[in-house]
């Protein structure tokens, strides 16, 4: 059976109605842009962009923040009292914003690109995140992201400091050096 059928299985039952317009109003009221940038493109070091992110991934992460499972102090206040419906609306809003390659990204360093490509191929990053690294469903988009955030968060997975919906990413980072992670982040940030 092909990959499409497997993905269909993973999608399971569709989520209930989400409303991007309600999400936009809520993002405005809670000032998500203060940290995550206008229209979901972050200008702040180590804070991720949210534009064009997979809605299911964003939903799951916001629940993990609200429940105190993924522990990020800066996200405690924004999530306070947030209902599931509001979270799904926010996720729909950020998913609807265009994702583009960053205007401020520097030139690609050939040595880092080669090392990053090698690790990504060896650990099948694209089997889950797709060959474009745009992600699917609960698996996030990791192209167009801030390079410093990618480096920071991959190191957190490796060091057991980031808790996700499962331990996939923690296991995948086993044994990588800081240099390897820098190369991976550089490689991902330079995907189209």
């Amino acid at each position: 059976m092909g990959a499409a059928a497997v993905m269909a299985a993973a999608l399971a039952f569709s989520a209930q109605a989400q409303d991007a317009a309600r999400g936009a109003a809520l993002a405005e009221a809670r000032n998500c842009a203060q940290c995550h940038g206008p229209r979901g493109v972050s200008d702040t070091p180590i804070i991720p962009s949210l534009a064009g992110q997979q809605a299911e991934f964003t939903t799951l992460q916001l629940i993990l923040f609200r429940e105190g499972i993924r522990r990020v102090p800066a996200m405690v206040e924004p999530m306070r009292g947030m209902s599931d419906q509001q979270i799904e609306d926010l996720a729909a809003w950020f998913a609807s914003l265009p994702s583009e390659r960053r205007a401020d990204r520097g030139p690609a360093n050939p040595a880092l690109m080669a090392r990053g490509a090698e690790i990504s191929a060896g650990r099948n990053c694209n089997a889950c995140h797709l060959p474009t690294y745009a992600g699917r469903a609960n698996i996030p988009r990791i192209n167009h992201q801030r390079e410093d955030f990618l480096e920071h968060t991959l190191a957190e997975y490796r060091d057991g400091a980031r808790v996700g919906t499962d331990t996939n990413m923690n296991g995948l980072m086993n044994g990588l050096t800081d240099g390897d992670i820098r190369a991976l982040a550089h490689f991902l940030a330079h995907q189209e």
Binding site: V6, A8, L11, F13, E67, C128, N168, G171, N174
Partner: protein, 400 residues
């Protein structure tokens, strides 16, 4: 064991997370460990949980099927991730979860269910058991006890028994199902910290029992890869447990199994043998050396919350029968499981297996619309089944 370790290495299989660290860059995540090279392009991966509330009208109760004469209805909803259930002496149903970290409390007030999040922010509190009015919660290696629990539903102050029980802290297969036996002891399983690996057989691949205060540890069963469902036979008191077999050995091998712990401390086969499947990746001992399982449940079906029905409202043939929710496969191209089966004793003790609650699996599209993950007999003789994917509990009753 030396010999065995060498044979594992020869098969190219990681032994333990610690060894895997030393051997970068080949370290796979635990669920992917043991996957042969020819499957490395596989897109199979564990299913994502749903952590948001599913509205009652989106819960697929109308698609569910039960045998003639039974009725299935939605009993409670709005509890993302609910799995194991335990009943308090005054009728409160407690529900455990994994990723979302919550324990729920559900009360029936004048025929309406009132649900609340009883505790939150725990790490995978999937194990629940009630004794002498206290709720015991197993959250990975932590063990908590809430005394006089139904009088403390709003502000529980748990007693932390973690140190006394001294459970291994390795995360993989560290989530637990727990239950009190007829002997008054607390039964706690400890799965293996990998897919297929060599482990310390006194710390992993076990079902243990303890006095409720965390003393007098006893090993009840060995060689059990990962059991997240067991119960005690209503007549014999024997421990019956289900077991999850390894992944990445093919679509149809090995099968998950149901076992009886006939002799205390007996070895049930891991890592060499799973339900008659002699693992080609592991040399050493033969299937013939271990007691055969009571029943082969099927490849990758994922039994969660094995339960003996103790009511009398169901017809004769179901009294004392076992109900096994099969939460369903991920490591298989065609989905398997996603149903509740019954297992009962026929003539001469022969076990008869039948489907009981079906409709969670959409065969035509190879997708699922729910994952049954817990079973509980209620005082009125009805049976509750939890569905972790829809955050719901169904009630199954007979007649009328």
């Amino acid at each position: 064991m030396k010999q065995h370790i060498r044979s594992l290495l020869a098969a190219g299989i990681m032994l333990s997370p610690a060894l895997a660290f030393a051997q970068a860059p080949a370290a796979p995540p635990a669920w992917q460990q043991g996957r042969p090279a020819e499957m490395s392009g596989s897109t199979l991966a564990p299913h994502a949980p749903r952590l948001t509330v599913t509205a009652p009208d989106a819960i697929p109760v109308a698609a569910l099927r039960v045998p003639e004469g039974f009725r299935v209805e939605l009993w409670a909803s709005g509890m993302p991730g609910i799995r194991a259930m335990a009943l308090g002496p005054n009728g409160t149903v407690f529900g455990g979860t994994r990723v979302i970290g919550r324990v729920y409390a559900i009360r029936d007030v004048n025929g309406q269910r009132q649900t609340s999040t009883f505790m939150s922010g725990l790490e995978q509190p999937s194990g629940l058991a009630v004794r002498d009015g206290a709720l015991y919660i197993a959250a990975m290696h932590r063990v908590l006890r809430v005394d006089n629990v139904e009088a403390n539903l709003t502000n529980p102050q748990p007693v932390d028994l973690t140190a006394a029980f001294g459970q291994a802290t390795e995360a993989h297969h560290g989530w637990k199902h727990i239950a009190f036996g007829p002997d008054g002891r607390l039964y706690i399983p400890r799965g293996v910290p990998c897919n297929i690996c060599d482990t310390d057989g006194d710390r992993f691949a076990l079902i243990e029992s303890w006095l409720p205060n965390g003393t007098d540890r006893r090993i009840e069963a060995r060689g059990v890869r990962n059991s997240v469902g067991f119960d005690f036979h209503p007549r014999t008191g024997q421990l019956w447990f289900s077991n999850h077999a390894r992944d990445w050995a093919g679509n149809d091998n090995p099968s998950d199994t149901l076992h009886v712990a006939a002799r205390r401390g007996e070895h049930h086969g891991y890592p060499w043998c799973a339900g008659g499947f002699q693992d080609p990746a592991v040399n050493g001992r033969l299937c013939a050396e271990f007691p055969p399982p009571a029943l082969i449940l099927g490849p990758h079906v994922a039994p969660v919350g094995t339960h003996f029905y103790t009511g009398t409202a169901f017809p004769e043939r179901y009294r004392g029968a076992m109900f096994i929710p099969l939460a369903g496969s991920w490591n298989r191209e065609r989905l398997s499981g996603f149903e509740v089966i019954t297992v009962r004793e026929g003539e001469g003790g022969r076990l008869i297996r039948e489907p009981f609650l079906t409709g969670f699996r959409d065969e035509a599209n190879n997708r699922f619309i729910g994952r049954p993950s817990g079973a509980l007999t209620m005082p009125d003789g009805s049976l509750l089944i939890s569905d972790q994917q829809n955050g719901a509990i169904y009630r199954i009753s007979y007649g009328r």
